[in-house]
Amino acid sequence: MKISLLCIMAIGLGLSAMPALAHHSFAAEYDNKAPVDLTGTVTKVEWMNPHARFYLDVKDDAGKVTNWEFELGSPNGLMRQGWSRNSMKIGDTVSVQGSKAKDGSNLANARTVKLGDGRKLFAGSASETGRTEDKKAEQ
């Protein structure tokens, strides 16, 4: 099976440990130290720039359902990493790993997503790792 150059690039991207400068204020919105790992049913998908989004109904142990919002990277970056606008459909069971919003809302930035068909994809927001050596370099 042919692996496109873009796929090779995406692999290299993973190997290179993506640098993250203060690109539109990830740090103002999400907490790197507040991880989330949630599984739920897709209720809505917004495939748009600058950030794709999706919403999950997540059931807790007591059976209570909460609707969570997840932010992905740009569809442009996502498509280059294996996503399509049809990767996620309403009703799919999906699990997400990411960082919770700082303002206490049921919002998280997704880092990886395991789709309904079992594939696990990187969620492609370039801003989350915040390497200190890059921040020093910026100055």
Partner: protein
């Protein structure tokens, strides 16, 4: 991050054609190695008049497959620019607030030179009398005029992407840009401010077929005590693909942003 690479390998076995239009379409007439891949180490191409041909899709190496390339200036980085007091105050405030007020989050253009440092490619296109830059992020564009015009001393209509002229110095294409409006919030990802007298000089040098260096100098005496140079950025060519549309349809969550 290595596990991401492993996952991505698995993901990349999915058929490419199903994901986006023309994400993977062979570019005609480019040098290739025996296995059909683009030969990024081939010599830099030239135009009919002998000048280097800068055209192609380019992505900054910090966002690309090779990660950080060795800095051609060695590992020395330019000293942080000394800012005038008003600018230092603004800069410190922005950092303390995690850059939350950047109008980029309201889909506004990033301006020059920041637009060239983003994690999305830009395309350089040769045209009579100008070099055209198409930026994927927010679908921005610049025209760098090579028809002999000079920049005015004053700009009656400052713009987000400024006004640019370009001239050759040997194999280096030197772009001068001014007339950048004051709504452009910052000149780099770090959040450094600017004034209406900002003049940006970009030196583009295509090293070989697949690689280009851009060195940016900032001259803004109302903001910085002296001219300064940003860390050199290297760009790698993206062959066999095209820009995707990027219309910024929806503001990025201003209601969720938390400052200091």
């Amino acid at each position: 991050m290595r596990w991401i690479a492993i996952l991505t390998v698995w993901v990349c076995l999915a058929p490419v054609h199903a994901r986006a239009q023309w994400l993977d379409y062979p570019t005609k007439g480019i040098p290739r190695t025996a296995d059909g891949k683009a030969n990024l180490s081939a010599p830099a191409p030239r135009l009919p008049d002998g000048k280097p041909d800068l055209s192609g899709l380019w992505l900054g190496d910090q966002w690309g497959p090779a990660g950080h390339r060795p800095n051609p200036l060695g590992n020395a980085r330019p000293s942080p620019p000394e800012m005038l007091p008003w600018a230092q105050k603004v800069f410190d405030e922005r950092r303390a607030n995690s850059i939350k007020d950047d109008p980029e989050a309201r889909c506004m253009p990033q301006g020059v030179p920041k637009a060239s440092t983003l994690p999305y490619p830009f395309e350089l296109i040769n045209a009579p009398g100008k070099l055209v830059m198409l930026y994927e992020m927010y679908s921005l564009r610049r025209e760098i005029f090579t028809d002999g015009r000079e920049l005015p001393k004053e700009f009656i209509n400052p713009s987000w992407m400024g006004y640019s002229i370009g001239k050759w110095e040997g194999d280096e294409f030197v772009v001068t840009t001014a007339g950048i409006n004051e709504q452009v919030w910052n000149i780099d990802l770090a959040g450094h401010p600017h004034s209406d007298v900002l003049r940006v000089t970009e030196r583009l040098h295509r090293v070989d077929f697949g690689h280009m260096d851009i060195l940016v100098a900032i001259d803004d005496p109302k903001t910085y005590t002296k001219p300064w140079i940003m860390p050199m950025m290297r760009y790698t060519l993206l062959p066999d693909t095209d820009l995707l549309e990027f219309v910024c349809e929806k503001n990025i969550d201003p209601q969720h942003m938390v400052g200091k």
